[in-house]
């Protein structure tokens, strides 16, 4: 009987489209559709990469095709998140990590600007109140600033 190491194994890859794996081609094709919709005012869309059966090789191929864009944002909230615009404008590669640095979500967002980066009006109002208190500004007189508290 042959030993395990003597059994020949040949890995057959799925049919490729334009040199890309089937999974990568499918994601790119979906991105094209999403991007076309968003470009004409449609709703932003997201692909959860962790839900797709993609090999590390496919992931690298996808990143290579999309390239790297001009904008990168880092978010520090319950761990670090990276939001990188790809070379395709409006397509963002988003990685969320927990406090231990483990990847907890990996998404491709098709949007002008990832919504998680936006400040909410509620938070801005809170910020204004906090600054007002810090400056010693009277609530009844928004224009008055107590400069003595600034020094």
């Amino acid at each position: 009987m042959s030993r395990l190491s003597e059994i020949a194994i040949r890995v057959e890859r799925p049919a490729r489209l334009g040199g890309l794996g089937g999974g990568v081609a499918a994601v790119l094709s979906e991105l094209v559709g999403m991007l076309e919709k968003v470009a004409v005012g449609g709703e932003s869309a997201t692909i959860d990469l962790r839900s797709l059966p993609m090999s590390p090789e496919d992931r690298i191929a996808l990143q290579t095709v999309l390239g790297q864009g001009e904008v990168h944002a880092a978010l520090s909230a319950e761990g670090v998140s990276s939001l990188q615009e790809t070379g395709v404008s409006g397509v963002w590669w988003v990685e969320h990590r927990d406090r231990q640095g483990d990847l907890v979500a990996e998404l491709i967002e098709v949007t002008a600007f990832p919504k998680i980066l936006e400040a909410s009006s509620e938070e801005m109002a809170d910020g204004a109140r906090a600054l007002r208190a810090r400056l010693g500004m009277d609530h009844a007189d928004p224009a008055r600033i107590d400069h003595a508290t600034l020094s």
Binding site: H96, A105, L107
Partner: protein
């Protein structure tokens, strides 16, 4: 005017505990991903939960060894008092609540009436209808409703 703890939404509570809106969105996004839900569900969950009131919880103990409850009382993260005062609204638990007898039954009825569509019914152990419900009888409930289950079962029930 300072709002009482009972009036605060989940988002306010989280903010008080140092969890930012973005941190919460991120947590919900990760949870949605882990549960294989559509990616838009994460931010949607975060948006709904942030403005939601603390969920009303009715904790019913039945034929059990009380091990679940003993574990719950020894929780450190979060502590039990933090959980029942800050995260949920524990409206009925016959072990923890100060009320007993008719007052406890009234509290249960009131919690069910006020939150029927939105409450969580948390039950530990089996609820056996055998022996006309004598094994798991609660208050003066008739044998036909031996577990003192609400007349209409709540939409969410965790056992």
């Amino acid at each position: 005017m300072q709002r009482s703890v009972d009036d605060l939404a989940v988002g306010d509570m989280l903010r008080r505990h140092g969890v930012s809106r973005r941190g919460f969105i991120k947590y919900c996004t990760a949870a949605a991903s882990a549960m294989a839900l559509p990616p838009w569900m994460g931010p949607a969950m975060a948006g709904q939960l942030r403005n939601a009131a603390r969920p009303s919880v009715i904790y019913l103990s039945f034929q059990e060894c009380t091990g679940c409850f003993e574990s719950f009382t020894r929780s450190f993260a979060p502590t039990m008092e933090s959980l029942i005062f800050n995260v949920i609204s524990l409206d009925y638990d016959d072990t923890l609540m100060a009320a007993a007898g008719d007052a406890a039954e009234s509290a249960l009825a009131r919690a069910m009436h006020d939150n029927l569509a939105n409450m969580c019914s948390l039950s530990t152990a089996r609820c056996r209808p055998a022996r006309e419900g004598a094994i798991a009888r609660r208050g003066e409930r008739a044998p036909s409703t031996p577990c003192a289950r609400p007349p209409k079962a709540p939409p969410r029930s965790f056992v």
